[in-house]
């Protein structure tokens, strides 16, 4: 046994031990895909290494075992007690095989045959040479003594005009042996230039057949002068059965390009080197997994830079989309489509990276409740639920101070002194709850206390005293409660250094609005107050729908759109109460032209977007729906802060600006009227 073999044996023993513990884990959790995947990978490494270092028995045996887990991985075979038992027995056998004795003992031999039979029963008696790609390989005629060919058949587009069906020719060829066929649509023109009577498909065929090159040419006899046909002799061996070829197929399976004939032959000739290379790479990967690092800390500035770059990328992508759209170059279309996909994935990934669970703030909150409560002589319990809910890092940053402020309010104004609480028949210990959850495209953070609630009279008196409210009309309870969100409001009897710093909940509300969020207050006397903060999932980039109103472009967040209707204007019916019945549902609607005070637009067909917000729906009428757009949302300047329906702006592909509509606000207003 040379040094390399020794080394491999050591590594293999590690692998086998790892395999054993993985199998035991799998026993406890039979449907865990990642364990199955890891088992498969380990077997694969064993197999590869065995072949490379002359442990052929190990390699061959593990190959069969690997096939079983390939089936398991594909969901074609369930993990059962018997399967696990057999695998564990197999591992014991591999340990024996790893000794690499020239001859197995009689005992081991019978063990070997016994286990192999069991394994084969799992694979369904099928010889395990069937690879992933076997479904592409058509076995029409058994050929033993033949030749492998590569054939490219590229008919001219008009070939079907004279009654030729190129598929028959491919079929004729394929039936003469064993073949792998790959169809291509590389020359597909854009839809408006596509002639449905034309053939844009070309075929690549790798075949093992008895036919001579002349006979293959004969198959294409009628079409050879109007097609590009290439036939290449790949030798007398059946390359379809070679592992090298299937490896090559695997490596190009995602590619839409033609086989690179040169690489193909080159690879086939040097395939052994290549297998060694991939094996080494596998090994490195495994080594990495041994001292896996599951997470790393990244400077948040780097993250911000990443997000900025992704935002730029999205904007540039929009410009490219526009250019592609205008130029209709099929190749460019294809490239742009893949690039757009990548951009989208990258964007989502970058977002995911900058998500933080709300619980990262829990300690700060808990500390505040504990310290401040003690200072004020109040006993308060702090409960959190759903704080694993994740939010964009920048939103977490912007929302920390507002939450701290609300908590201070709860502790200072909400929760009563223990004596007062006992008098009211409440437990002496107060309770503040913070819960978070996702609802559609928003996250809600609810902070509630079981304190005194908001004192209606005090609020009303204060509002009148501060000239915030004239006191002439009768207000509902909810309206009174919401008065405390008005600027310059503070009802605390004395200005403590905690919540009352001359700023009240109005500042909290403004901060939340700045990040496109919203604030709701509910309060019941002596039962407590509950404040809900509604936040968008992300701040910077949204999937939007581009619409047109009076030649100006706007973005509506795609996730709020329920349906888009094109209606005859007569369908609007009674335009007085502005309710339309769509699919048996009454929906209030509004015309953006009216909201923005543009001239009315007289068209027969009306474009109507139905948008949803929680369980409410509303419809808005726009001039035109232009299409999807990934929008990088930039905040509006200070001067535009008073805007109700606009939450930001974005730059379109052509460099113009589109405003981002806050449909939630529109719905709220519509349903309030």
């Amino acid at each position: 046994m040379d040094n390399f073999q020794k080394k491999f044996r050591e590594e293999a023993e590690d692998l086998v031990n790892g395999l054993e513990s993985l199998l035991l884990k799998l026993d406890a959790d039979k449907n865990n895909g990642s364990i199955i995947e890891e088992i498969f990978r380990t077997m694969h490494s064993l197999k590869g290494g065995g072949a490379m270092f002359g442990f052929n028995a190990v390699s061959d045996f593990t190959h069969n075992l690997e096939s079983i887990y390939d089936l398991v991985r594909a969901g074609k075979l369930a993990v059962s007690k018997e399967l696990l038992n057999t695998t564990l027995e197999s591992i014991d056998l591999i340990k024996i095989l790893l000794e690499n004795k020239p001859e197995l003992s009689q005992n081991d031999k019978s063990l070997f045959t016994e286990i192999e039979a069991k394994i084969n029963s799992f694979i369904g008696g099928e010889k395990s040479t069937t690879r992933k790609d076997s479904n592409f390989i058509a076995h029409k005629t058994e050929v033993t003594d033949g030749t492998s060919y590569y054939i490219l058949f590229e008919p001219r587009p008009q070939i079907m005009n004279n009654g030729t069906n190129p598929l028959y020719l491919v079929d004729e060829l394929v039936t003469s042996g064993t073949a792998f066929v790959k169809a291509h649509h590389l020359n597909l023109p854009p839809l408006e230039k596509l002639n449905p009577l034309n053939c844009y498909t070309s075929w690549e065929i790798v075949i093992f057949t008895k036919l001579t090159e002349e006979q293959i040419r004969d198959v294409f006899l009628f079409v050879e002068d109007e097609s590009h046909i290439l036939i290449d002799n790949l030798g007398k061996t059946n390359i379809l059965e070679s592992l090298k070829f299937s490896n090559y197929l695997n490596s190009i399976s995602e590619s839409t390009e033609y086989f690179d004939l040169q690489t193909l032959t080159l690879k086939l000739n040097n395939a052994d080197d290549i297998e060694q290379l991939t094996f080494k790479a596998d090994y490195k990967l495994n080594a990495l997994q041994d001292n896996q690092i599951t997470s790393i800390r990244v400077d948040s500035e780097k993250l911000d830079n990443l997000m900025n770059l992704v935002s730029e990328l999205v904007t540039t992508q929009a410009a490219l989309n526009l250019y592609t759209e205008a130029n209709k170059d099929p190749k460019l279309l294809q490239i742009n489509e893949s690039l757009e996909n990548i951009t989208r994935h990258l964007r989502d990934l970058a977002f995911n990276v900058s998500l933080l669970p709300i619980e990262t703030l829990n300690t700060r909150f808990r500390r505040l409740v504990r310290d401040l409560g003690a200072d004020l002589g109040k006993e308060i319990e702090f409960e959190t639920t759903g704080t694993e809910t994740e939010l964009d890092k920048s939103i977490i940053q912007s929302v920390t101070d507002p939450i701290m402020h609300i908590l201070r309010n709860c502790i200072d104004h909400g929760i009563e002194m223990p004596a007062e609480r006992t008098k009211k028949g409440k437990p002496a210990k107060g309770l503040i709850k913070l819960s978070a959850n996702y609802t559609g495209n928003t996250v809600r953070i609810i902070i509630s206390d079981d304190g005194a609630g908001i004192n209606e009279e005090a609020v009303l008196a204060k509002a009148i005293a501060n000239d915030l409210f004239k006191g002439t009309s009768k207000l509902t309870h909810e309206e009174i409660v919401n008065l405390i969100l008005l600027p310059g409001f503070s009802t605390a009897k004395r200005v403590t250094d905690i919540s009352g710093r001359g700023v009240g909940l109005d500042v909290v509300k403004r901060k939340i609005t700045e990040i496109r969020g919203d604030l709701e207050i509910k309060s019941e006397p002596n039962k407590g107050t509950s404040i809900t903060i509604i936040l968008p999932l992300t701040l910077s980039i949204i999937d939007g729908l581009l619409i047109d109103v009076n030649k100006y472009k706007y973005i509506v967040q795609l996730s709020v759109i329920d349906k888009i209707y094109a209606l005859d204007k007569n369908q609007l019916g009674n335009t007085k109460n502005k309710i339309i019945i769509l699919d048996d549902e009454q929906i209030p609607y509004s015309n953006l032209r009216e909201i923005f005070e543009f001239e009315p637009h007289n068209t027969d067909i009306i474009q109507m977007l139905v948008v949803k917000y929680e369980n409410r729906k509303a419809a808005i009428i726009v001039d035109d729906v232009l299409g999807e757009h990934q929008a990088v949302v930039k905040p509006l300047g200070k001067l535009y802060r008073g805007q109700d329906f606009i939450s930001g702006a974005t730059i379109l592909g052509d460099g113009t600006v589109a405003l981002v509509l806050d449909t939630n606000k529109i719905i709220k207003q519509l349903s309030n009227n």
């Binding site: 079907m160 004279n162 009654g163 006899l221």
Partner: protein, 121 residues
């Protein structure tokens, strides 16, 4: 479903040999003596394949192919023509007119079916 084949040839023996071979192979056969005569079968009925000679008295094969290609119903029907090894330029002419393929005379039944197999199934 049984396929309908239209044979067009002025030689009765050819019509018979081709017809016999095709009927034995399970096809339904119509036969015309020349281009003009053959058109009586192109009346809207389903024709799956046309086999035509090139040299015929009233309307030759090339003209017949052109006529068929101009008929909406039959514009995509496979058309094979009968030719001899020597007529290379005729072959090109027929292909340009819209023929799908050819059968070299003289032929044995197996060759005929092989050619047909390339264009219909």
């Amino acid at each position: 479903m049984q396929k309908n084949v239209l044979i067009v040839d002025d030689s009765e023996s050819i019509r018979e040999v081709v017809g016999f071979t095709l009927e034995n192979a399970g096809f339904n056969v119509f036969a015309g003596v020349d281009g003009k005569d053959a058109q009586k079968f192109l009346d809207g009925r389903r024709i799956d394949l046309v086999i035509t000679d090139l040299h015929m008295p009233e309307m030759n094969g090339i003209e017949l192919i052109k006529v068929i290609r101009r008929m909406a119903t039959y514009s995509n029907v496979p058309i094979l023509f009968l030719t001899t090894e020597s007529q290379v330029e005729k072959k090109m002419e027929a292909k340009d007119a819209g023929a799908t393929g050819w059968i070299i005379k003289p032929f044995v039944p197996a060759k005929l079916l092989e050619a047909i197999n390339k264009v219909i199934r």
